[in-house]
């Protein structure tokens, strides 16, 4: 499978104490086709490379949005299917043989950030969300019915 990357140009990171410099911030997954409601999450500069934040979606669902050190942004379901707690945004990111991952902070099951699949459990796949960055704001795409 090929990962498609859309560069959205150079986004300057606001002044801050953060040490990592990012030239381009890119949504990690191309939006799936279909109309979406784009929910503003935060300014890109608010994201810490390598960590996630939780985003409240209309209707009470939650997305976990991650910025990786290479500038990719991914969004997956925040609810950990193994524990029932909304904690995935607080997990540690990394990679497994190159696949970008997050590990549940509770019992450490590892999920692909690209596909939402649980890497050690073929039966489990989490929903993923499209992400885009507009005028410095990260937005999460919620499919419209």
């Amino acid at each position: 499978m090929t990962t498609l990357i859309t560069a959205v140009g150079n986004i300057s990171v606001e002044e801050g104490t953060r040490s990592t410099v990012r030239n381009a911030v890119r949504p990690g997954i191309l939006p799936a086709p279909g109309a979406k409601l784009w929910v503003p999450a935060c300014l890109v500069g608010r994201l810490v490379p390598g960590r996630g934040v939780a985003v409240l979606l209309p209707g009470g669902a939650q997305a976990a949005v991650f910025l990786l050190p290479n500038g990719m942004i991914y969004a997956i379901e925040n609810l950990d299917p193994y524990s029932g707690a909304a904690v995935l945004s607080r997990g540690l990111t990394g990679d497994r043989t190159g696949e970008p991952t997050v590990a549940s902070p509770l019992l450490k099951q590892v999920f692909s950030l690209r596909t939402g699949a649980a890497l050690d459990d073929p039966c489990v796949t989490l929903p993923t969300y499209a992400v885009r960055v507009q005028h410095g704001t990260v937005k999460v795409g919620v499919p419209l019915p």
Binding site: P49, P81, L92, P105, D120, D121
Partner: protein
């Protein structure tokens, strides 16, 4: 997808009719179609159920999702294979063996060359009066569960209107009965279980195990009635059922589920004159052929040499045997392992081998721990040498290794196998043909050769041997084999670093690299993971006094360290302020109490002499800590792999036996080492005399007063594998004591593996305690000054982590629930305060079924 070009009616193509599309029927069709490369067989499948084959073993996971598709077995509709004709909702009514035809419920006549009976079993319903009342169910099919659901929902509504609880009664306390009881619980009913035998799970466990199991199950809110039969059931006017038990008990229940065993569905076979067993089941030989050479039986309906098997694995084997035979093969049924291990309502139960000690002369060795709720029994041969079987209840962690020893000589004293103090049975002593993964029949030999061929982690071994891919119960043993193999790479921290933690520590210390990205770029690969990131974070923290949330380090910390609090199961945190030596002032206690009130926190005193406040949401942590810091309290680092507590007894200032001031020493030690990050948590204890009230010998560092000073003990711990601390040096003065502890701790921090506590570290240390004593007390390596200087820097640089966060708006800004709604409480967090104590309630229920 098969792209057959021949027409199914080609001459030379024979027809096999399969009766029953359950788990085994489907496996047979798959086995036949995947091996019949010449397309010599056309398959007609008759399925009474309207649903194509589904995972009956996982039936209970239908509850909650109510999604039939999620249980469908892969490939169960044979799309695109024109040699398989699946007829759903069609029963086989009659078999004419002379004409070789089957008559279906739709009146059709189908000719066969071979007939495979895979009709499974049906639940046995005891013929008590009223057994067919509305509200009586069995637990076997998806339709059964739909019926139970409808009745349960109606019952709950009816009960709520009357202000009472709805309940349900399960007749039968075997494996499936307990599973049904759990189902009722999930549906919101209070379950009762009635078992005729004097114990639960009479087929798998003995009386002792049954008693422990009953205690554990009852404590989960299931009402257990053993030694009682069901005498009658009568419908009441209010829609409920009055059930009378043989011991005179009368119960009113909203519904009844029968789970009193199964009977083979051999009706069609009987009518066709095939041989059936004494207790039912179509009798076959070891090739699964019946007394008619064109008719075969597989799965639960088959009585192979007179014996029926109620598990799916033997059924699958039979399916493979018959597929092989139809294609001219020579396979026979090798018998089956009926060992079981499962988790029922969260309780581990396992039985294996000759669990009931039926072998003549067999001896039983039993260990029961009533407080822990565990029961373990092993059955050995009359010379107490060969392991024959056993039963484990409450804790089945030894199952895989013990099972692999069945039929073999046990090294050492067999009693030690079940006694908690006994030596753990190593996998290293097992011969190569011992089966480690019984789900997939993988032997120790194949795992070891996979390791020898270069499989260097669990994932690789799983990939090439299939071991551990089904229930996962054998993974701890597989891991042990991997470690024992001494394969060089077993030192590798993870796929990103080939070095061990100790080697990385040396690299960091000698190169001065201070960021993860630089370390992984120069000495590793990739971008890291949940294993190496916290390890490197800990090394960076042990080697400097930077704040753990400074700069790039923030992204490395495990969730606990990231929010400087302990993550609990529902995503909330617990807060533990430091109370050095267990000391706390009245003002601090008042603030803690007030905080608990204001934020609705559950309060518990910990084993380490401090107070834990549970149930704080992320966004509440800063406000809570502000008030704690204001009253002079600091982070207790309960969330970190770091110094936890220094527990102390009251010592010479108050105690009439005390010979030294243990509280004073404990407070000094806690102040000295607070905040020290280490490979695992570290605990201390200080006792004021040899009576040892602080239990210091159960700690990583134990200090016990003597007439002449202090005795220093090291490398003890409680927990899963308790270890007594060992005496390192005696009668030390205060200053020498502290110097030795400095050296000991820093030596451990530098050389231990990730998550290795001091006791296993000492076990693995070459030269053991003598070597450690030489390093610490005699400076045999000439590094004592170095170690002391490193500790000196730690003590010098210590700052309270929480105060530093409160002073830094940037760090503070991360403590929000939602980045787009910072004050909004997480809607999935809720608590139940109706019981004796506040507990978290999970609204976002886990969607993944617990593996058995």
């Amino acid at each position: 997808m098969s792209t057959t070009t021949e027409s199914p009616t080609d001459a030379g193509t024979r027809t096999v009719v399969v009766v029953g599309h359950g788990m085994v029927g489907h496996r047979f069709v798959e086995a036949l179609r995947s091996r019949d490369t010449e397309s010599t067989w056309k398959v007609v499948v008759l399925s009474e159920e309207a649903e194509a084959a589904y995972d009956r073993v996982g039936l209970s996971s239908y509850i909650g999702t109510w999604d039939r598709a999620s249980l469908a077995l892969g490939g169960n509709t044979y799309d695109g294979d024109d040699l398989v004709d699946l007829r759903l909702g069609t029963r086989a009514e009659h078999v004419d063996r002379d004409a070789r035809t089957v008559t279906t419920s739709s009146g059709e006549l189908i000719a066969y060359d071979s007939l495979v009976l895979a009709t499974g079993s049906h639940p046995f319903v005891p013929p008590v009066p009223g057994h067919d009342s509305a509200g009586c169910f069995v637990y076997r099919t998806l339709d059964d569960l739909d019926g139970i659901r409808t009745a349960a929902e109606a019952a709950i509504e009816r009960a709520a209107a009357k202000g009472r609880e709805a309940n349900g009664l399960v007749v039968g306390g075997g494996l499936l009965g307990l599973e049904a009881a759990n189902a009722l619980r999930l549906l919101g009913l209070t379950p009762h279980v009635v078992e005729f035998a004097p114990r639960l799970m009479p087929l798998q466990v003995d009386d002792g195990g049954g008693a422990v199991l009953e205690g554990l199950i009852s404590s989960l809110g299931v009402q257990v009635h053993t030694g009682a039969g069901t005498s009658s059931i009568a419908a009441q006017d209010d829609g409920r059922l009055a059930v009378e038990l043989s011991d005179g008990t009368a119960l009113l229940t909203d519904l009844v589920v029968f789970s009193a065993g199964v009977r083979p569905s051999d009706g069609v076979a009987r009518a066709a004159g095939l041989d059936v067993g004494e207790r039912g089941g179509v009798v076959t030989d070891l090739t699964c052929r019946t007394n008619d050479e064109n008719v075969w039986a597989v799965g639960e309906v088959a009585a192979v040499e007179g014996r029926c098997y109620g598990l799916v694995a033997p059924g699958y084997t039979m399916a493979e045997v018959v597929a092989d035979r139809l294609l001219g093969g020579e396979a026979t049924f090798p018998g089956a392992d009926l060992s079981t291990k499962l988790k029922l309502l969260g309780v581990d139960v396992a039985s294996f081998g000759d669990a009931m000690a039926t072998t003549p002369g067999a001896l039983e060795i039993v260990h029961t721990d009533a407080t822990k709720g565990t029961y373990a029994k092993v059955v050995v041969s009359d010379d107490a040498k060969t392991l024959l079987g056993g039963i484990l209840v409450g804790d089945a962690s030894a199952y895989t290794t013990l099972k692999a020893y069945v039929g073999r000589e046990v090294p050492g004293d067999p009693g030690a196998l079940v006694s908690p103090a006994g030596a753990e049975l190593g996998a290293d002593a097992l011969p190569d043909d011992a089966v480690i993964c019984s789900c997939n029949n993988v032997t120790k030999g194949s795992i070891c050769s996979a390791i020898a061929d270069g499989s260097c982690d669990l994932a690789a071994i799983k990939g090439c041997t299939n071991a551990g891919t089904t229930c996962g119960g054998c993974l701890p043993t597989v891991k042990k084999l991997l470690v024992d193999s001494g394969v060089e790479l077993s030192k590798a921290l993870c796929e990103h670093f080939e070095q061990s933690r100790a080697e990385l520590f040396e690299i960091v210390a000698s190169t001065g690299i201070r960021t993860f990205s630089a370390l992984v770029a120069r000495h590793g690969t990739g971008t890291g993971c949940e294993i190496c990131k916290p390890t490197v974070a800990s090394i960076l923290a042990s080697t400097s006094s930077d704040h753990v949330l400074d700069g790039e380090q923030a992204a490395l910390q495990d969730s606990n360290d990231h929010f400087l609090a302990n993550l609990q199961k529902n995503g909330t945190y617990s807060v533990v302020p430091r109370m050095p030596g267990g000391e706390v002032t009245a003002d601090q206690l008042i603030v803690i109490g007030q905080l608990a009130k204001d934020f609705g926190l559950y309060v518990k005193v910990t084993g380490g002499q401090r107070i834990d406040l549970f149930g704080a949401r992320v966004e509440q942590l800063p406000a809570i800590w502000q008030r704690l810091v204001d009253v002079g309290m600091e982070s207790g680092q309960a969330y970190g792999k770091s110094l936890r507590t220094v527990k102390s007894c009251v010592g010479s200032s108050w105690c009439r036996y005390g010979v030294q001031d243990s509280v004073g020493m404990a407070v000094d030690l806690e102040h000295r080492y607070r905040g020290l990050r280490s490979p695992h948590k570290i605990k201390f204890g200080v006792s004021g005399c040899a009576r040892e009230c602080a239990e210091a010998r159960g700690k990583d560092v134990g200090v016990i007063a003597t007439d002449r000073g202090w005795n220093l003990y090291v490398c003890g711990n409680g927990g899963q594998t308790p270890a007594h601390a060992r005496l390192l040096a005696s009668d030390l003065d205060d200053e020498t004591l502290v110097r030795y502890i400095d050296r000991f701790l820093m030596f451990y921090v530098r050389t231990a593996d990730r998550l290795q506590r001091t006791a296993p570290w000492l076990d693995a240390l070459e030269g053991g305690l003598d070597h450690l004593r030489a390093v610490v007390c005699e400076d045999s390596l000439g590094i004592a000054d170095d170690l002391e200087a490193a500790m000196g820097r730690h003590v010098e640089g210590y700052r309270d982590e929480w105060k530093a966060v409160l002073d830094d708006p940037e760090k503070l800004s991360r403590f929000v629930s939602f980045v787009n709604a910072p004050e909004e409480a997480d809607p999935t967090v809720a608590f139940d305060e109706s019981g004796p104590r506040k507990v978290p309630v999970l609204l976002g229920l886990p969607t993944v079924r617990e593996k058995v």
